[in-house]
């Protein structure tokens, strides 16, 4: 579950203060997907940053996977991300030196594991890559994968810690329409299968009809829209 209640986030911009998120509230239940649309600079990414424990708002209440994020130390916020949140980045942000399998295993490996745990991690990574349609591509590095394949690795990596919350930032922006549809379908399936609360930012309105909830962000203000109405808008 993601719950944001009356959240406001500001940041300094020269001598003035910009309100990136203005008294925003939303709830994303488990197994559902909420899309946020809005123009560039409207505050979508800032809202995602709040929901993914990357930044603390000035005011309001934020609960993610049952954890109150307000007042957490940076180390505590890092632990929440590690344990409860999966992030799918806009650009796949894969590490160039790592194979697809390593991209998924890296978080567990950085923590240092026993041989048995390492084998389990790699087995799990293999299964996830197969789940996103990348069986046989485990040992390829990012430059050996297509844009769509890289995004699938990006999604699989976000699921590696079996998160209760999935934060997805414009996953189709670098893909053609067909590949974009495939990725959205995959995210929907995973959300339903795993019961994650998925918060997705997108520019592509063609996906909105498939969402459980659509919110529009404008100048930091969040307003609810019927998915079908949002398509027409």
């Amino acid at each position: 579950m993601i719950e944001l209640n009356d959240v406001t986030l500001t940041f300094p911009d020269g001598e003035r203060t910009v309100t990136a998120v203005d008294h925003a509230s939303l709830t994303v239940p488990p197994g559902s997907i909420t899309a946020i649309i809005g123009a560039s600079g409207s505050g979508k990414s800032s809202l995602l940053a709040v929901a993914s424990a990357l930044i603390q708002p000035d005011s309001g209440a934020v609960h993610v996977a049952g954890v109150d994020l307000m007042g957490l130390s940076p180390a505590e916020a890092t632990a929440v991300r590690r344990e409860h949140i999966g992030i799918v980045f806009q650009q796949s942000n894969l590490l160039p030196a790592l194979t697809a399998l390593d991209q998924l295993a890296v978080m567990n490996e950085l923590d240092g594991h026993s041989r048995a745990a390492r084998a389990e991690t790699r087995e799990r990574a293999r299964a996830l890559l197969a789940r996103v349609g990348l069986a046989g591509h485990e040992n390829k590095r990012p430059h050996q994968l297509s844009g769509g394949q890289r995004q699938r690795v990006n999604i699989a990596r976000a699921l590696m810690n079996d998160p209760r919350v999935l934060i997805v930032d414009e996953p189709t922006s670098a893909l053609d329409h067909a590949r974009g549809q495939e990725i959205i379908t995959l995210i929907l399936e995973l959300t339903r299968d795993r019961g994650t609360s998925t918060l997705l930012v997108t520019h592509d309105r063609s996906h909105l009809a498939r969402m459980d909830q659509v919110l529009v962000m404008s100048d930091g203000v969040l307003t609810a829209h019927d998915p079908h109405a949002a398509i027409a808008a």
Binding site: F89, N93, P96, L98, M107, L110
Partner: protein
């Protein structure tokens, strides 16, 4: 080390490059350290081998603060004052001068060490029979240059001396030492127009001795063996410059390695931001980064050490070069420690990298 190893394998060329730079610096530092030790040995090994607790010089000339082997001249009275003082076991006079020995048409520079014929020759290297009157003990290099062996005759200041033994070289101010009796040394000096009784005293003390008080009474200046080495003019002038160069090389190596890893880590900043956004602990990333630096350092220093040993073995016959754990392992260890300190400066981007950057959100 999970990411570190994979990055090393992925960016092999880049890491081979920095490893090569580290190896070259190691060769430079190792070779210079070996050379410094070799040159130092050629200056001081004979004095170090005296086994004395203190070296006693005549008091420095007015206006000079430090004694020197070149200017020191000990009188029999000063020697008696030291011998008779409480806490002094032995005070052996030692005459030191530099000359050219001759054998037929051949000439060779040598340092003459005149030792008391009445003494037990404790100043000579262990196991070497002391010379009797009219005899001289040569180092191998002088004997080789002169083409002489035991039983031959060599000349010094017009004195004919029979070679009583040829031993491993001991060095003083870049000259191989030739040992003769103190009376013969005194006669040689007199013939050379520089009469002297002895240059210094090599004294052995008990804990009860009060060297400063004896110095005051005898009008002498005594020094412990190591500080006394600085009274060898050639050693003092060489060692300072060489140690300065070695020190600067250590500093340069830390800067070079630090600069490399800083640039490398700055390039990795986006990846670090992603890992942090995914929940990587900063401590783990620091360990990974430092581990990567350590691997490169160990590889570079290891290759450099092997090359230095090879070059040292080759150069050892042509130049004074000491190949020992102290001249190879210690500089290598120093380079690794300094390299890690340099690499630690590269941690700033790791510590400061903002996970928010991975999401592209404004702050």
């Amino acid at each position: 080390m999970f990411v570190a190893w994979r990055e090393i394998r992925f960016a092999r060329g880049r890491f081979v490059l920095i490893g090569s730079v580290v190896a070259l610096i190691t060769i430079l530092v190792g070779f210079l350290t070996g050379l410094t030790a070799g040159l130092a040995g050629q200056n001081v090994s004979a004095v170090m081998g005296l086994g004395a607790d203190r070296i006693v010089f005549s008091a420095p000339a007015h206006g000079e603060s430090d004694p020197s082997f070149g200017d020191s001249s000990i009188t029999p009275e000063q020697a008696s004052t030291w011998s008779d003082a409480a806490g002094v076991n032995t005070a052996e006079p030692l005459g030191i001068s530099q000359t050219r020995l001759s054998a037929g048409e051949r000439r060779s520079p040598a340092a003459l060490f005149g030792v008391s014929s009445a003494g037990t020759h404790t100043l000579l290297p262990e196991g070497v029979p002391g010379p009797h009157s009219g005899e001289i003990v040569l180092g191998t290099s002088v004997a080789k240059t002169l083409g002489v062996s035991t039983g031959a005759t060599v000349g010094a200041f017009g004195l004919d001396l029979r070679v009583s033994a040829v031993i491993d070289d001991a060095w003083y101010a870049h000259s191989s030492v030739a040992w003769l009796t103190l009376p013969d040394w005194q006669e040689a000096m007199a013939r050379g127009g520089q009469p002297a009784w002895a240059t210094v005293l090599a004294v052995s003390l008990t804990d009860a001795a009060q060297p400063d008080a004896i110095d005051a009474a005898a009008h002498t200046a005594s020094r412990a063996p190591l500080p006394a080495l600085l009274s060898i003019e050639s050693f003092r002038s060489e060692i300072g410059s060489l140690l300065l160069i070695v020190g600067m090389l250590f500093g340069i190596s830390a800067l070079v390695i630090g600069a490399f890893f800083t640039v490398w880590t700055i390039q990795r900043a986006p990846d670090i931001a992603v890992l942090k956004a995914l929940g990587a602990r900063t401590g783990r990333l620091v360990r990974d980064t430092l581990g990567q630096a350590l691997v490169v350092l160990l590889a570079g220093v290891g290759v450099g050490m092997l090359a230095t040993i090879g070059l040292g073995l080759l150069a050892g016959s042509a130049v004074p070069f000491v190949l020992s754990p102290a001249t190879i392992a210690l500089p290598a260890l120093g380079l690794i420690i300094l390299g890690l300190i340099g690499g630690a400066f590269a941690l700033r981007p790791v510590l400061r990298s903002d996970p928010l950057a991975a999401l592209g959100a404004p702050r």
